[in-house]
């Protein structure tokens, strides 16, 4: 296990370096720059601004300086909001995205796994068709449709939850549900497939023959094997949940990281793009490692030899 962690950690370093380099080059070669605006800026002011942010240096120097600062943990000030450090902005926005992500995942799991299990147990009956059709609808329905729909029902009509904002728990429900339902649908389908495969195994038949109760078969024998695909999916899903929340943030006016991630690219906010990309990359690497550990724990076959 320690070997797994160490080797993953060593692999992560070159991966992050490649990501940083590619992102750096891509931002610099994208047309337009951070100081382009509808009002033409006089050339001499543009030069001043560029020198202020070190953009007048040769690209290689900029790159070396960037890497040097990065190694010291300094992501620099945002180009778009220079009064704020990129790390400061990430530090304020990430907890919001994390809360949203965790809650969505909780929704996704508590809805998805039971639905998938029930569907698998009663294959080809209405108990299977109903949640599976709903989950297909959930996968197909984009969040910008589902979000306003939930707002319409729970906020405008029933008045239970506020339609936007991030002040307290009551604000958290609708966005988490919107984001979570999409993943719940995936999880339900994965659970169903995984469970069906496991339930067809010989050892389950043996357990049935021995007279084990359905409960026991389900939770003691089948669940671990049946949930393996779901667990593999959880790592990327969780990363997706906390990074892919731009639309949700925009619909529900949530001050999360997704907005910085997306608008930084539009604004050519070089430091912010690099900062958020590296942050998410690190997070995804970490989450994947976590999933591998979890899998190794559950499934002996997945343990490194």
């Amino acid at each position: 296990m320690i070997r797994l962690v160490v080797s993953r950690f060593l692999q992560a370093i070159p991966t992050l370096w490649v990501i940083a380099t590619l992102t750096f080059l891509m931002t610099r070669y994208a047309p337009g720059g951070p100081f382009d605006s509808e009002k033409a800026i006089p050339e001499e002011i543009k030069i001043k601004l560029q020198s202020h942010f070190g953009l007048d240096q040769p690209l290689l120097n900029q790159y070396m300086l960037y890497l040097k600062n990065l190694l010291q943990g300094d992501l620099g000030p945002s180009f778009k909001y220079p009064e704020w450090e990129v790390s400061e902005l990430i530090a304020t926005a990430f907890p919001v995205s994390l809360t949203l992500g965790v809650l969505s995942l909780v929704f996704a799991i508590i809805i998805g796994i039971p639905a998938g299990m029930i569907a698998a147990l009663r294959k080809n009956t209405w108990v299977d068709y109903l949640p599976m059709s709903l989950s297909m609808a959930g996968i197909c329905l984009p969040t910008f449709v589902l979000g306003p729909l939930l707002i319409y029902v729970f906020s405008s009509h029933l008045g239970i939850f506020p339609p936007l904002g991030w002040d307290g728990p009551s604000n958290w429900v609708l966005p988490s549900l919107t984001l979570g339902l999409f993943y719940a649908a995936y999880i339900a389908r994965l659970t169903r497939a995984g469970m069906l495969e496991t339930l067809a195994q010989d050892y389950i038949r043996t357990a049935c023959a021995k007279g084990a109760s359905s409960w026991r078969i389900l939770f003691k024998h089948a669940s671990w094997g049946g949930l393996l695909p779901v667990i593999t999916f959880l790592g990327p899903a969780f990363a997706g949940l906390i990074s892919g929340s731009f639309v949700i943030e925009s619909i529900f006016f949530i001050p999360g990281l997704g907005k910085f991630f997306v608008t930084a690219a539009f604004n050519r906010d070089y430091t912010m793009v690099l900062g958020t990309v590296l942050f998410y990359a690190t997070l995804i690497i970490f989450l994947n490692l976590l999933v591998d550990i979890l899998q190794a724990w559950i499934d002996p076959k997945a343990r490194p030899q």
């Binding site: 337009g32 720059g33 382009d36 033409a40 220079p82 009064e83 239970i160 409960w215 925009s250």
Partner: protein, 551 residues
């Protein structure tokens, strides 16, 4: 089925549902909305649109920044809430010399910064000097060019002393400003944030005199002289300001505070308004107008806005290097149809570049709809060039549903009248900006919002070689007329020369004006002291909240 029954049985249904209900009640216990609590708290909840890039008045560039800065700072004069005419601000009075070039402002002795320091004439000298300091790199520094010798100092040709820039503190409370030319709208100009003062000790404490991106603009650090002080700034979430008790006219200020929410998506903003989260929205999506007109007839406002939506021709390449083709394109557009059938948001057709009535200037219409003449002009061009028809033309615009709608409508009109094939090319904003600035377009969308209420803010754009011109058009007569208008002190003379400019624009057609903007907004009936103004400025000290009277 056996298993399912077992599971269901094992769940004590009553307990499950009662917990569920409790949880729902706990999470969703409905609180009174912002608008409901606002009457008591005297807090205005304001839809800001975008997050402002800077809160430093010398670096700010956006409308959002104006909305915040006009609460935090005050210039020499303020604005009348109804017509934006200058009213005494930090200066209680002023004297203007006969030639209109020298102003002496008498500052209030009781004008204070939010930390209790006195506001003096030296603060203004320091601020103007900072704004013009070439090392700061202020994008709006040219707003201060009307000051005598400001250009020489800003371009780094001379030092501050050598340049002798036209601003001087005669004593602590008298400020003398000398202008390059008499400018009839100079006092109005002073309400632009680039003319606002900054607190010298604060700037020095954060070493921000020539540095971008210091922490002086954060809450607790920001020292201003306006009716409100900055109390909270959570980026992309909220900016809060509260009443500044040190403000000289604090007794007029009725609001206890304003919360600005940078909600960019128009649909989200509308939902925020309808749920009582906001008193006012920054915008309204055009396709929601019909619905809102019906549901909120008294809360949806169409307000005039000093801006023109237009297209630029690129005169550097054929076919738009020929005046006839440009005119043919201009004459084929039925602007009334565009406004009534496509936009439907209360905009008015633009037959001039300057919106009529700007500062009292009413230009005669120059851009007409005349498809027959258009056809004739194009045919004469085609005949001369020995062509059957024009090659397809690329129309570049930045990606947006609204721009696309206009581009498609125009495509139809050109195709119908001139038989021209248009390729619509949409681009992401920054790519679009650099494409247009580099002259890599044939026909490109544009918009211009006036910075002050005078035709000059519009017509100066088309001076030969002006940074914003970008069409490649230049005309000596235009430049001369513009200069005459700039240096003249007589209203008639100025209007006459501005009219010459407008006539030349219509005759030469380097641009194609389409419509004048309107500001579409939702505003709650409890907001009082708020009037439609051309620049969408609303001096907050006159704004108050009052319960609606039951009819």
């Amino acid at each position: 089925m056996h298993l399912l029954k077992q599971i269901l049985r094992s769940l004590n249904r009553t307990r499950f549902f009662s917990i569920g209900t409790l949880l729902l009640l706990f999470l969703g216990c409905s609180r009174p909305s912002n608008v409901e609590t606002a009457l008591e708290e005297k807090l205005l909840h304001f839809g800001l649109g975008a997050e402002p890039q800077h809160l430093d008045p010398h670096l700010a560039t956006s409308v959002a920044a104006h909305n915040i800065l006009s609460a935090l700072l005050e210039g020499l004069v303020t604005e009348d809430p109804k017509d934006l005419k200058p009213r005494p601000g930090t200066a209680k009075s002023w004297d203007i010399s006969k030639d209109g070039k020298t102003y002496v402002f008498n500052l209030r002795e009781n004008a204070q910064w939010s930390n209790g320091d006195r506001v003096t004439a030296h603060d203004f000298v320091y601020s103007f000097r900072r704004m013009l300091n070439p090392n700061l790199g202020a994008q709006y520094a040219s707003m201060l060019y009307p000051l005598k010798n400001a250009l020489a100092y800003h371009q780094g040709e001379k030092s501050w002393q050598e340049a002798n820039v036209g601003v001087k503190a005669l004593d602590d409370h008298s400020l003398e400003i000398t202008l390059e030319n008499p400018i009839p709208y100079f006092l109005e100009l002073l309400n632009h944030f680039s003319w606002f003062p900054v607190h010298r000790p604060t700037i020095e404490k954060f070493n921000a005199y020539e540095k971008i991106g210091t922490a002086w603009t954060k809450p607790n650090n920001f020292v201003g002289n306006g009716p409100f002080r900055l109390t909270k700034h959570h980026i992309n979430s909220v900016i809060e300001v509260h009443k500044n008790e040190h403000y000289w006219d604090a007794k007029t200020v009725q609001l206890q505070g304003i919360c600005f929410y940078p909600i960019e998506a128009a649909y989200t903003e509308e939902r925020a308004y309808r749920s009582g989260f906001l008193h006012l929205t920054q915008s309204v999506s055009a396709d929601r107008v019909d619905f809102l007109k019906e549901k909120y007839p008294d809360e949806l406002h169409f307000e005039p806005y000093l801006g023109t939506y237009f297209y630029r021709f690129n005169l550097k390449n054929p076919p738009f290097d020929d005046r006839r083709v440009r005119q043919a394109f201009c004459l084929s557009i039925d602007r009334k149809k565009l406004v009534d059938k496509v936009l439907k948001g209360g905009q008015s057709p633009a037959t001039t570049f300057t919106p009529p009535g700007t500062g009292g200037f009413h230009p005669t219409a120059g851009f007409r709809y005349d498809p027959d003449t258009a056809k004739g002009l194009l045919n004469s061009y085609l005949k001369e060039k020995g062509m059957d028809k024009l090659p397809p033309i690329e129309l570049t615009y930045n990606t947006s549903e609204g721009h696309k709608k206009v581009a498609e409508a125009l495509h139809g009109m050109w195709k119908e009248t001139l038989g021209v094939e248009i390729h619509l090319l949409n681009m992401e904003w920054k790519v679009f900006l650099s494409t247009v600035a580099n002259g890599e377009f044939s026909l490109a969308r544009a918009g211009w919002i006036g910075d002050y209420i005078d035709p000059h803010t519009f017509l100066q754009m088309w001076r030969t070689g002006e940074g914003l011109n970008m069409t490649g058009w230049g005309n000596k007569n235009y430049d001369q007329a513009l200069q005459k208008a700039e240096t003249s002190n007589s209203v008639d003379e100025r209007w006459k020369n501005f009219q010459t400019c407008e006539d030349l624009l219509a005759a030469e057609a380097p641009i194609l004006p389409l419509y004048f903007y309107v500001h579409l907004t939702l505003r709650h009936p409890t907001v009082k002291g708020w009037y439609p103004t051309l620049l969408d400025h609303h001096p907050y000290k006159y704004v108050y909240l009052e319960k609606e009277e039951a009819e």
